[in-house]
């Protein structure tokens, strides 16, 4: 049972920081609370940031996409601004997280701050080069999401607050594909693979392969990505894609647990990376069925 001495509400990000620092005892931020309720955080009080103005979704004039940290996964899954971005990849990731009641409460920031290896939103945000905006009362800092995760359940935040995420306009036009492999329809992922390819003049200019649940923190398979950069979309060979997928499988660091073995997870990285690359290249003939995860 989770026993709190006090539940505080913050009206702004600054106030949230102040309320948390005020004491007495140890404080923690809370948004949706879905993960915190499952695994109660050791704290005396919480500071609720749901009404701290951190729930907006916006596109800047330059085309960057901004997601407030307290935006619910349901809002992401249903927002037209998000649908236009990177072939709707964020929608796909958000709508495969938990179930509808969970998505109505859980937030994108909470998903990242909880920092599980299987965080559903992490791979897609990694693949789209998200930047984290972190604040406390005195300072603001931006950190690439790739540097945000330290180890399971640990981020660079310390006592600071994640206020939002920005995705660069350049990522909006990437060709993408993702897949979340689960045991049943409502499940955390055994393996998640997101591929995002920036294509210019028929050539892959940028490649992102992001993996979830196969390393201590969500990760990018940078060596596999390098294989793809410079390749012609029209002439890319199946062998090269298969090689890149095998490299990704070599890069990940899965472990055995009661959900799946490391051996299985590694092989699934290979299979799913190969398929997602082909799918991102819009080669529907090779793979057709597995774009949507287990939930249609």
């Amino acid at each position: 049972m989770w026993e709190l001495k006090e539940y505080r509400f913050a009206a702004t990000a600054q106030e949230a920081g102040a309320l948390r620092r005020q004491g007495p005892g140890k404080g923690a931020y809370i948004a949706g609370g879905t993960d915190m309720y499952l695994q109660p955080v050791d704290c005396d009080f919480v500071v609720d940031i749901n009404n701290a103005g951190l729930s907006d979704i916006a596109r800047t004039p330059a085309g960057d996409l901004f997601l407030g940290a307290a935006t619910t996964l349901h809002n992401i899954a249903t927002n037209p601004l998000v649908a236009d971005f990177a072939e709707g990849m964020l929608i796909q990731a958000a709508s495969h997280c938990g179930n509808r009641p969970v998505r109505s409460t859980a937030t994108v920031g909470g998903n990242l701050c909880h920092a599980l290896p299987s965080a559903d939103m992490a791979p897609v945000l990694l693949a789209l080069d998200a930047t984290c905006y972190i604040a406390d009362e005195e300072s603001q800092e931006s950190v690439p999401l790739a540097d945000f995760f330290v180890s399971p359940r640990v981020t660079v935040l310390d006592d600071r607050l994640l206020v939002g995420l920005a995705l660069p306009a350049e990522a909006a036009t990437r060709r993408c594909a993702s897949y979340k492999l689960t045991r049943s329809a409502e499940d955390i992922s055994l393996v998640q693979v997101v591929v995002a390819l920036g294509v210019e003049n028929g050539k892959i200019e940028t490649a992102r392969i992001a993996l979830g649940a196969v390393a201590p923190v969500p990760m990018r398979a940078v060596l596999a990505e390098a294989q793809l950069v410079g390749q012609s979309v029209a002439d890319i060979s199946l062998d090269l894609v298969a090689d890149a997928a095998a490299i990704a499988a070599g890069e990940c660091e899965p472990r055995d647990d009661h959900r799946a073995s490391a051996e299985y997870r590694r092989d699934m990285v290979r299979v799913l990376t190969r398929r997602q690359i082909m799918k991102a290249l819009h080669d529907e003939t090779t793979i057709t069925k597995d774009s949507g995860g287990t939930v249609a």
Binding site: L38, R183, A185, D187, K289, V295
Partner: protein, 770 residues
């Protein structure tokens, strides 16, 4: 055949009698009440799989404000009993006491706190200091069978344990018809395979919950979510050293039981604490407790050895079941007995051998779960039939058609196997199995080429046949009381327990049918040991068949009483009066509405039309099911998508088509979890690794495929209005049908379920490497 043809209630989709109050969210469940001064109880559980509880220091916990009582084994008299809710004398061993001197699994009871709030109770648990003497633990069933130096139950007090306290054997069965070893030598082909069944939990929505208090007459009142109120009262009276007259058990609406509530899981604790404190006490399991300290479907390893001739004739069949009952032997003998008894008669070969070794281990407890051993046996046998067919080079449907049980056949095992006593021979007097196979094949498109939806996927179909029983022959019985009211309505009081399956509605339909009144004129009370007559409870698929028989008898008695009263005033024979359309009609156009009849009986004749009747059957007619699965498999990832499940079920007369369909669909969803997702995982020390729904995956609405349910009606001569059971048989077939379909798709068999993506992937990988 249409059962509804000449019947106005039976066979119709009448309104479920409790539908409105449930839909409105009325306070109908155990925990929907509170009582002044009510305490909440919480259990301190053993962190050790096997340890003597030497000393428990409760002083700090008792000193905490708001704590009313803390108990451990020094506070409660040790009276050996079984918590299994079965007819007396129970066939389960008396190996349990309320508060054990020795913890036998990680999660066993060590102490119990009753406090003003749940939070205080939990805080108090942390203040209890326990001195354990840690003992070597046995968590592997083969080790448990071999070893006699470490005994899960070595005490002198437990009675009736299979091994007599000298081994870890909880139950042993060895029954043979013919001579299997000799017959196998004469067969053209002998196929032997080993199948592995997981530990799974019923996962009813409403957890175990009980509230007990002492009333103004100093009687113990237990309001509880149970399937067995009368067994519970009897067991409580024994272990509390009270008489049954001092105890009243009330069963309100129940949010699912599935066998897990055919067991005294929390009632003894709230009773002890209420009696000690004089205050009402409530105890509700958390989901983690359900997955650690309630009951599981027994994990089993089943070896099938089958001998056939070239033409497919089955000559000999052997099933050897190795089962883990865990720390206590609830249902150990009978569940394992059913694994063979309910399953092997499907193919009544002249030589049948059924062997069981069920052992105690220091793992959490197995017990009753819908199907009661048959899902395990059916998985093994029906997987095995496909294996035999493959080795024979014979069509798997043809092999089944050649050998399955038919009308008039005698079930070869039933006479040999009773519930811990000699059984009764069983003859099949009604069967719709052939028709179910025909209709099921058509619905699934058996034999038609099915293309996968994408080139990288494989598609397959599978089938399984299943049979179960309708109550326990010669053991299960129930009673019903029918009483007429002024307005022509009747009270129907039954000990039978509606636990969500809809039996109150079924029983009301039987009553309405006999009295010629609409079902909504029947007010059902179920069940309360003070107010309703006896019934063994909701288990063994007994309620429609057995309790229904009692309702029919009681209603007929009341009808006869009314006919007699009317006959004397109408000056006609009682037999000339017809009760239909809420009217009594006699010769010469004499007629009275049921309300007029009631007023006449109560105020003119001055009698209370009322009757109680009991019913027992020496038969347990099998309902049958033919179930089919259509699946798609991704060979590279091992993922299985079930595209369709077809269940064609013969449950005799269909009393309520929609409720019967609900029974089938619910069973299919539960069996889908058994086939693909569900497994309670233990580490080597016997600790549950996944006591939550994040990692213990049951099928959710998103996982359930389109389900086609076909009800093949038959007329069972021994059943009320021709009815048999429907509650358990449809949970048996889906798992083997799905696994057979996976094998059809990719050519690799899963001998172990659940067939998780990784298991399917590994099977394919190993087959490719060979």
């Amino acid at each position: 055949m249409s059962a509804s043809k000449n019947r106005h209630a039976v066979g119709h989709n009448v309104e479920k009698v409790d539908a409105f109050k449930l839909a409105r969210g009325e306070a109908v469940y155990t925990d929907d009440i509170t009582r002044p001064g009510m305490l909440t109880a919480k259990v301190l559980r053993s962190p050790h799989a096997h340890a003597r509880i030497v000393k428990v220091d409760v002083s700090a916990a008792m000193a905490l404000e708001g704590v009313a009582d803390v108990i451990w084994h020094e506070d409660v008299k040790a009276i050996a009993h079984t918590r299994a809710g079965q007819s007396y004398p129970e066939p389960s061993p008396y190996d349990t006491v309320i508060m054990p001197h020795k913890a036998r699994f990680i999660g066993d009871r060590v102490a119990v706190v009753a406090a003003d709030t749940a939070a205080i109770a939990e805080k108090a648990l942390k203040l209890i200091e326990v001195q354990y003497e840690i003992l070597p633990a046995i968590c592997d069933m083969d080790e448990a069978l071999e070893r006699t130096d470490v005994l899960v139950h070595e005490e002198a007090d437990p009675l009736g344990i299979g091994g007599g306290g000298k081994s870890n054997v909880a139950a042993h069965i060895d029954k043979q018809v013919g001579d299997v070893d000799a017959a196998l030598k004469t067969c053209d082909l002998v196929v032997e395979r080993v199948y592995h069944l997981p530990r799974v939990q019923a996962s009813h929505i409403e957890p175990h919950i009980s509230i007990a208090w002492v009333d103004e007459d100093r009687r113990l009142i237990v309001r509880t979510s149970t399937q067995v109120p009368f067994h519970l009262r009897r067991i409580l009276a024994r272990i509390l050293e009270m008489s049954e007259s001092q105890i009243r058990v009330i069963k309100p609406r129940v949010g699912g039981g599935f066998g897990d509530k055919q067991e005294m899981v929390v009632e003894d604790l709230v009773s002890v604490l209420a009696l000690r404190t004089g205050r009402p006490v409530r105890l509700e399991f958390t989901r983690a407790e359900e997955l650690i300290a309630a009951r599981y479907r027994h994990p089993q390893r089943i070896t099938m050895t089958t001998g056939v001739m070239k033409d497919g004739t089955m000559v000999a069949n052997r099933m050897h079941v190795m089962a883990d009952t865990g720390a206590y032997g609830s249902h150990a003998l009978t569940v394992q007995g059913n694994t063979g008894q309910k399953v092997m008669p499907m193919y009544p070969a002249p030589n049948i051998h059924f062997l069981v070794d069920c052992v105690y281990t220091n793992n959490p407890i197995s017990g009753a779960f819908r199907g009661y051993g048959a899902p395990q046996g059916c998985f093994a046998l029906e997987s095995h039939m496909d294996e035999v067919a493959r080795e024979l080079g014979m069509d798997r449907l043809e092999l089944r058609l050649k050998n399955h049980i038919r009308l008039g056949d005698t079930d070869p095992l039933s006479a040999k196997l009773g519930e811990g006593r000699e059984g009764l021979a069983r003859v099949v007097r009604s069967t719709g199995l052939d028709e179910a196979i025909v209709q099921g094949c058509e619905a699934i498109g058996w034999g038609q080429e099915k293309k996968p939806s994408a080139p990288h996927l494989k598609r397959g179909v599978g089938m399984a046949l299943a049979m179960q029983g309708s109550g326990i022959a010669g053991v299960d019985w129930g009673a019903a009381t029918v009483k007429l009211n002024d307005d022509g309505s009747v009270n129907l009081a039954v000990g039978a327990t509606d636990i969500g399956q809809g039996s109150d509605t079924i029983l009301a339909q039987f009553c309405a049918e006999e009295l010629g009144i609409p079902t909504e004129k029947v007010l059902v009370l179920s069940s309360d040991t003070d107010l309703t007559p006896f019934d063994v409870g909701a288990y063994a698929s007994s309620t429609t068949y057995v309790s229904g028989g009692a309702v029919v008898k009681a209603a007929i008695k009341v009808r006869e009483q009314l006919a007699e009263v009317l006959g004397s005033t109408w000056e006609c024979k009682a037999g000339e009066i017809i009760f239909a359309d809420s009217k009594a009609t006699g010769p010469g156009g004499k007629s009275m509405t049921m309300a007029e009849v009631a007023m006449f009986a109560l105020y003119d004749a001055k009698i209370q039309p009322m009757a109680t009747a009991s019913h027992m059957s020496n038969e347990s007619p099998p309902p049958f099911a033919a179930q089919f699965a259509d699946v798609e498999v991704d060979p590279e990832t091992g993922q299985v998508e079930v595209l369709k499940i077809v269940s064609a079920v013969d449950c005799g007369t269909v009393v309520h088509p929609r409720l019967a369909q609900g029974q089938v669909e619910g069973a299919v969803a539960q069996a889908l979890g058994y086939a693909l997702f569900e497994e309670v995982l233990l580490d080597r020390s016997g600790k549950v690794l996944n006591p939550n729904f994040l990692d213990y995956k049951i099928a959710s609405a998103l996982d359930v495929p389109p389900m086609v349910t076909i009800l093949v009606e038959t007329d069972e001569p021994t059943g009320p209005h021709g009815a048999k059971a429907a509650g358990e048989v449809p949970i048996d077939g889906p798992a083997p049908a799905i696994v057979n379909a996976i094998c059809d798709a990719v050519g690799v068999r899963n001998y172990r379920i659940p067939a998780t993506p990784e298991r399917v992937w590994r099977g394919i990988k190993e087959a490719t490497q060979e």
